[in-house]
Amino acid sequence: MRVLAAMSGGVDSAVAAALAVDAGHDVTGVHLALSPDRQTLRSGARGCCSVEDAHDARRVADELGIPFYVWDLADRFREDVVEDFVAEYAAGRTPNPCLRCNERIKFTAVLDRAQALGFDAVVTGHHARLADGQLRRSVDAAKDQSYVLGVLTAGQLAGARFPLGSMTKERVRAIAAERGFAVATKPDSHDVCFIPDGDTRGFLTRRLGTAPGPVVDAATGTTVGRHEGTHGFTVGQRRGLGLAVGDQRPRYVLSIEPVTRTVTVGTAELAGVDVVRTGPPTWTGPAPALPLQAEAQLRAHGTPVPCTVEAAAGGGLVLRLTRTERGVAPGQSAVLYAPDPVRGDLVLGQAPVAG
């Protein structure tokens, strides 16, 4: 099989490419240049696709003896991921850019181009299991990335290969070390890759400017604070609200109204929800019959919640949770799983939290 290995310059994609070579595939490595102004050197665990990262990826490809190219997807990434990220925050929602990148860049732009150029599949270093078209959690629960892949459709999964799903991160690093890859000890990347300093609020303020407004307490309707822009907040957020309320009980963001620039806060009881409404879902396989018993994961690294999934008017879903959840933010994806302790929880699909 002719496969294209997406190589970020990190240890995971390096080992994924190596395993694809071991499996006897005809492998070509590609580094995706996503940042419009690539830094020469990488700084710490943040940021991505610096020239140094491309060099790290190239080093591994050269050791594997496979062709290697850099694809410049900066324009596409800016339009489909960065601008979407900004627009979602501007609309009072909380996007997941990694999920968007998988949906639109890695498994649309890259996969389409790869297939047009004669490749059968795209190999990535994601920690998730994929066999017989079924996407499941990684055996390494702490590193599982099935959440950010939950948006993929059956067609996209048919063109994807995730060789690392059945091994722990520790094992991945051990394989890299055995092969003498210099990236064996390279730190994992964290945070949003296009915000290298990690200051999301600062990034959004630079993009969206300041738009001051009131912070209103839901129980009393009184203004309890001011903010510099609704884009600085996420539903469920507790820290950094800077409020002066009489009692000492913590407040959480309940809702964000960009039009009136109002951030509404409330106490823990008010912040919890047990019914989540979503937009139209995507499924990793044939659409399942509804209602359905499943587990919903409502954010990256969130704890899954058992729920009943029902169809709603307008093509969306209603998730009836068996326990109350705080911080269910509109714009995040609810990824639905069928629990399977033996083979790994099966990803059924995802739907964006409405609001």
Binding site: R38, V51, A54, P67, D72, R76, R113, A116, L117
Partner: protein, 396 residues
């Protein structure tokens, strides 16, 4: 393997390998006074004389450098600094926008760091700089430090009439530098006859070693050094002479110049067949640069080994990858260290739109090229272009 990227670098000649190997086995710093040093010095000076002979220069005009990039940097910066030092009104650089990045980026660095003002030369659609365009850009020349126009373009192969340009520059008292990295061994290059003040050449485009180049610099040209130290090269360039590389460079240059006429004829015929064969299979492909049979100043107007084509609707980097997978090595333009394909600045400078600039490939032939190389390309180019077109021109 089908190697169609000789303009990037070309295989080392066996006689060069022998000369370099022989010298690497010896000890002696060419600046040392003892017997070993004298022997090294003798080898270096013989090489200097052979190079001068091959390129129509005097031995004292040959400055050994670490390659084309260093020579270009030294010429631009060194002549700029020295000429401004002599007359503070001089702050202008007159440069072709189709130059190699070693010249372009030096000019831009001088603009940013040294207050230079860069005047970009008007180009013919072929990429050629005409004497009229240079005259217009120079004006009365009083504020110009140096002009730089490459002898032959590294991407599209267009040759300019450097002697005519030198005459125009000298008429207003301005020195002319020319980057002749691609020209040497492909078209007749005679430093003295051309009249230019400084000329860049490098070994690895001639079958010599990488990292060995020269700047030919007229004896009366004032040039401020970039590298300070022992002053080995006329006090303009410091650094222990790399005698093995210099010996190899001289052997390569001598062979390239001696065999030029025969090789140029052979490569032009191969190249013409390559272009005709590609156009037969991809009728809407477009040849960039001067026509194949173009003539300038009585010689070839296009490098005999150069074919540069655009394939509308296909991306250059997709074409390159597909050809690479089929054992055919070519280029989308000059190699880029960051690895990200950029629209060719040369094509953009001659007025091509971004799509055409991104859909181009350079095939460059050299001393080892054969009919079989052309056949190998023609056997696959049709399906490869078709496949790349399916992948489209979207920003991926």
């Amino acid at each position: 393997m089908t190697y169609l990227d000789h303009a990037a670098t070309t295989p080392v000649l066996p006689e060069v390998l022998a000369a370099v190997t022989e010298q690497m086995g010896r000890v002696g710093n060419a600046s040392s006074l003892h017997a070993g040093g004298r022997a090294a010095r003798r080898t270096a000076e013989q090489a200097r004389e052979r190079l001068a002979e091959a390129l129509g220069a005097r031995p004292s005009e040959v400055l050994f450098t670490g390659g084309g990039t260093e020579s270009d940097n030294l010429a631009l910066k060194g002549l700029f600094w020295a000429r401004r030092e002599a007359d503070s009104r001089r702050r202008r650089l007159v440069v072709s926008p189709a130059e190699h990045h070693a010249v372009l980026d030096s000019a831009e660095w001088l603009a940013k760091q040294e207050g230079a003002e860069v005047t970009w030369l008007r180009l013919e659609p072929s990429g050629r700089v005409t004497p009229e365009a240079l005259a217009d850009a120079l004006g009365d020349g009083t504020d110009v430090t140096v002009a730089s126009v490459m002898w032959a373009n590294n991407e599209i192969g267009t040759v300019s009439d450097v002697a005519a340009l030198a005459e125009v520059a000298h008429a207003v008292g301005v020195p002319l530098h020319t980057d002749a990295v691609q020209a040497v061994g492909q078209v007749p290059v005679d430093f003295a006859a051309s009249g230019v003040d400084a000329l860049t050449a490098t070994g690895h485009k001639l079958g010599g070693p990488v990292g060995a180049g020269v700047l030919l610099l007229r004896r009366d040209a004032e040039c401020t050094p970039l590298l300070h130290g022992g002053g080995q090269e006329r006090d303009v360039r410091s650094g222990t002479l790399d005698v093995p590389a210099i010996a190899g460079l001289a052997v390569a240059a001598t062979a390239a110049v001696a065999g030029r006429r025969e090789r140029a004829g052979r490569l032009a015929a191969l190249r013409d067949r390559l272009v005709a064969g590609v156009l037969e299979q991809v009728p809407d492909a477009q040849l960039n640069g001067a026509p194949l049979d173009d003539v300038v100043a009585g010689g070839p107007g296009r490098l005999p080994g150069n074919a540069h084509l655009s394939f509308p609707g296909a991306e250059g980097d997709a074409l390159l990858m597909l050809l690479d997978a089929r054992g055919i090595e070519c280029s989308t333009g000059s190699a880029c260290s960051a690895g990200v394909a950029r629209p060719s600045h040369v094509l953009t400078a001659v007025g091509a739109d971004a799509a055409r600039a991104r859909s181009s490939l350079r095939f460059s032939l050299g001393h080892t090229s054969t009919d079989a190389d052309v056949d190998a390309l023609l056997a696959v180019i049709g399906p490869v272009v078709e496949r790349a077109r399916r992948a489209g021109m979207g920003r991926h």
